[in-house]
């Protein structure tokens, strides 16, 4: 009996080992075909076995387990330059003595060179600036500030808490070169504390302004970059308004080659390059200068309409632009040389204003039997206002007025959203009363989500699944079981359960 138990306990490790060996042998040829070195295959086997042992899924898997936390230092191109700048040498102790790697030694392996630290390193590691660290798990960390990495345990998790993660593509190489060498100690056991200690030390660095936004995680950098990028469109829109106004003035002067102006003005707005946003004022002024004496009359109207449409859009987006200012400009331009197109524009603008005021007057409200907002639009345009005014209730009117007080002329889409927002309030008041009545009907949905997320899993194949009323019978085969982290296998499994 005991022998059988021990046999089974030994069965799993042996089985796993045999599977690993089979796989490695099977892919040996594949690796050779791909031109991958034998060493990589050995690394794979080593990693695999290490992980299996670490999972404690099997007992007695390996007697001679070699924990090998691996640190690979990938040296960037400018590694030797940075080293010279910071005048630091790479110190990688091995536990017995200190091995000094000078810049010259490491400079030999410039591009993508890796330096694998010996296993079982248990001493502080001094890493100079500009070095990219890579943990065994594959995370890349670039060290901008020379750091001391202390390793409390022999795990490969030490470099999960590196000094900094800086993304190169954001283009701050000057920061690297100008970084002041400040040594910080990072303890693997207290990573967060280390992060906190690092930040105040970074403030001592000259380029604090650049560093501080560079929080530990590279994602933050991306987010900050994105946030700066996002801010640009609002600027570009303002620039667009000035451009449009300037265009009007330019158009009113009868000049040929309006096409140039058209393309020159509208490419900045169509392109999303943010360098354009900053250079827009320059563009507009230069375009204006170029335009004088270059406009065509014929395409002018069509372009003007497009420009006027843009202006109309700008006007409709009332809160972002100063309506009065733009309209005043329009009027002044209307009084300029060319009357026809400007009058046309003016009439367009005035009709739009009228629509805006009409929209303001019509505070749309739907009843509980709501129709889609799209259907409301033709109603607005058909000007069947009296219908709706009768329906409007005073309470909801106040609500909508409160919502719209700050907005002078909403776009139609905004109207729809505000009206539908007002609509939502109505049925909501009814639903609130009903919620307690129906709240008990729903079975908690979390059960299904959490239910299938369990540590104890059996992965197998089924021969037959049988059910009789609520009595289930399972005939399974070739399965691998994992209970509380321990692994078992079976050739056949027969089970009964009641549902």
């Amino acid at each position: 009996m005991a022998a059988a138990a021990m046999a089974h306990a030994n069965l799993v490790p042996k089985l796993y080992k045999s599977i690993i060996d089979d796989v490695i042998e099977g892919v040996r040829e594949l690796f050779a075909e791909e031109g991958v070195e034998e060493q990589v295959l050995k690394d794979l086997k080593q990693l695999w076995e290490t992980k299996v042992v670490q999972s404690k899924a099997t007992e007695g898997f390996f007697r001679h387990s070699h924990h090998s936390p691996q640190f690979t230092l990938q040296l960037p191109h400018s590694f030797h330059r940075v080293l010279q700048a910071s005048a630091a040498s790479l110190v990688i102790p091995t536990g017995r003595g200190f091995q000094h790697f000078t810049a010259a030694d490491l400079g030999a392996s410039r591009v993508g060179g890796t330096l694998t630290l010996p296993s079982g390193v248990a001493c502080p590691i001094h890493v100079p600036a500009g070095v990219t660290l890579q943990t065994a798990s594959g995370h890349l960390y670039k060290v901008n500030v020379p750091v001391m990495v202390t390793q409390a345990t022999g795990d490969a998790s030490i470099l999960h808490h590196p000094v900094q993660q800086i993304f190169q593509p954001l283009g701050q190489p000057s920061v690297l070169q100008a970084s002041i060498a400040s040594v910080a100690q990072v303890n693997a056991s207290s990573a967060q504390a280390a992060a906190e200690t690092l930040q105040p030390q970074e403030t001592a660095v000259q380029h604090t302004v650049v560093f501080q936004p560079d929080v530990m995680e590279k994602n933050h950098l991306e987010k900050s970059a994105n946030s700066t990028l996002v801010q640009q469109p609002s600027v570009s829109q303002q620039q667009l308004a000035t451009n449009a106004v300037l265009n009007q003035r330019a158009d009113s002067t009868e000049k040929p080659q309006h096409g140039n102006l058209h393309t020159a003005v509208f490419t900045p707005e169509s392109s999303e390059g943010f360098s354009h946003a900053e250079s827009l004022p320059n563009n507009s002024s230069s375009v204006l200068l170029d335009v004088e004496g270059q406009l065509d009359i014929e395409p002018q109207e069509s372009a003007q309409q497009q420009v006027s449409d843009d202006i109309i859009d700008l006007i409709i987006m009332g809160e972002r632009f100063d309506d009065n200012a733009v309209l005043k400009d329009q009027d002044s331009i209307a009084s300029a040389d060319k009357m026809e197109p400007t009058e046309q524009m003016e009439s367009n603008l005035r009709s739009e204003k009228a629509v805006c005021s009409d929209i303001e007057g019509i505070i749309q409200l739907d009843g509980t039997g709501d129709v889609s907002p799209k259907e409301e639009m033709p109603r607005i345009k058909n000007r069947e206002e009296n219908e709706f005014i009768g329906i409007i209730e005073s309470e909801d009117l106040k609500v909508l007025e409160d919502e719209e007080d700050d907005e002078e002329c909403d776009s139609i889409s905004d109207m729809e959203s505000s009206s539908s927002g007002g609509d939502n309030e109505e049925p909501q008041t009814d639903i609130v009363e009903e919620d307690p009545l129906n709240s008990g009907d729903d079975v908690s949905e979390q059960d299904t989500a959490d239910l299938f997320d369990t540590d104890n899993v059996i992965v197998c194949q089924y021969d037959k699944i049988h059910r009789s009323k609520n009595k289930w019978k399972f005939y399974l085969k070739d399965g691998v079981m994992s209970f509380e982290g321990k692994d078992y296998v079976f050739a056949k499994a027969i089970g009964d359960a009641e549902w």
Partner: protein
């Protein structure tokens, strides 16, 4: 084509993690890693079919059952797994079972 079912086991997951590390360090290509996994599928399927001979019985209560794409998924509660020698009790277990009659290509978990 063997079932890729066994990739979500201790052995399979550790292999995938190891392969991911090698990919990260660019020592192998993702294509090669996929080939390794396919080889793993073959190896474990044949090993389980040929090298394992033991039988297990179990009894419990069925909480949920699901049959989709010819894959059974059960969640059982308060199960006793009984082998000739040992008894293991678990309060909750999930069973994922592919069709054992036809070992066609199957990418279920």
């Amino acid at each position: 084509m063997a079932y890729q079912l066994y990739r979500n086991t201790t052995l399979g997951n550790s292999l995938q993690e190891s392969l991911d590390e090698l990919i990260q360090s660019q020592q192998i290509t993702p294509q090669l890693a996929l080939q390794v996994l396919l080889q793993f599928d073959k190896a474990i399927n044949s090993a389980l079919a040929q090298r394992v001979r033991n039988r297990v019985n179990f009894r419990g209560s069925l909480n949920t059952y699901r049959f989709c794409d010819n894959v059974w998924t059960f969640v059982l509660n308060d199960i006793e797994f009984r082998e000739v020698t040992e008894l293991v009790k678990v309060d909750k277990v999930k069973i994922v079972a592919c069709d054992g009659k036809n070992t066609g290509s199957n990418t279920a978990e």
